[in-house]
Amino acid sequence: MAGKAYVITSGKGGVGKTTTTANLGTGLAKLGKKVVLIDADIGLRNLDVVLGLENRIVYDIVDVVEGNCRLEQALIKDKRYSSLCLLPAAQTRDKTAVNPEQMAELTDQLREEFDYIIIDCPAGIEQGFKNAIAGADEAVVVTTPEVSAVRDADRIIGMLEAEGVHDPQLIINRVRIDMINRGDMMDIEDMIEILAIKLLGIVPEDEKIVVSTNKGEPVVLSDNTRSGEAFWNITRRIEGEEVPLINLEEGLLNKIKRLVGLG
């Protein structure tokens, strides 16, 4: 069995990489898959907090790489799903504590145990990014409907291709349909046209995300949240299911259906 490694990246900070990683990982575990999440944001770790696992950390990724512990000792089991694990980042170190070769080796080791390896990439295009993509087979680019986020996403897609990670998929996060309708937010159609990669999902802006992040409970597990439903659909698409896009608004939905060839 050889697991698949996804890197969740964006270039720009604050667009929802960590939230996406937590929800996608939890969603896949809910589908019964064996999943390991890697926090590659050494020095600014957050994934443990978003999953509510911060107080369980004893060893981290740098300890594994430096040989202070075995890989299994650093893996933290999720509270809700025993098939979900987290390999936390070190907080007191920086990105140079790990190099791309070590990351690739680590990912290969995890591939034997898990169905999915999901790597939460730090913002930026420096060593942290290079570490995060080193072991990845596939990439998911997260962006928001803002010119700056789309600009950074475009840069990242180019860098992924240069590094040999082909055909990344796109998640558009924090979408506010009322603002798009008023012409105050970038049109989704325009974004897809610029970035020209496959759309994996659209996640509406949802204040429940703030609550879920603070409580350490991924929104994908909650019923009746729009963002949770969107992340659940993304999870199923990763698993190969054909799931129509979330119904943001009828007119827009049809447009997008056309764009992704579902309608």
Partner: protein, 203 residues
Amino acid sequence: MLNRGVTFKGDLEGLIIILNDELEFDYIKEELRSKFIQAGDFFDDDLMVRVKLGRRGLTTKQKNELLEIFREQRGISVIEFINNDNRFVDSKEEGDTLLVKRTIRSGQTVRFEGNIVILGDVNPGAEIVAEGDIVVMGHFRGIAHAGAKGDTSATISAFRLEPTQLRIANYITRAPDIPPNSPDTPEIASLKGKHIIIDYLRK
């Protein structure tokens, strides 16, 4: 008296005192004493001192005599004696304590061979590692490891103890997932058998 037995140097971590290893111990001792008298109130509070001995070895009596001289100086604490091998001749004197007067933030670590006192808060994501006790005169919300070299009698106390994780010697405990209502009073964590327990600080 020719001043060639004792040299004072400063670096980022504090003061380095170099004792010439070719001269008689008593001579060195007197020169050290007179240097301190010359210096008067020159030294800051909580100045850390490392004493370099060169090839000299110290008997316990000699070491205590030196420590006596340092103790007479207000605000100076001897951190370690170092000989030529750069090996600690003595790193942990009973009561050796590092005083840190600031807030320790996420990603920062304070490590010391003795006790650690923090005059400030310790935030989540920060780490305090001491071979002895840890005392936080503020809110403790990070990770603490007391008795890091195996001292099971080490304790961790704070004005408000709301840690992410506590470690004493080889034992470890973490905060409950649903945060309890912490009392608005100082508390102390210590080892009882194999468990870390938290109690009110009543001393």
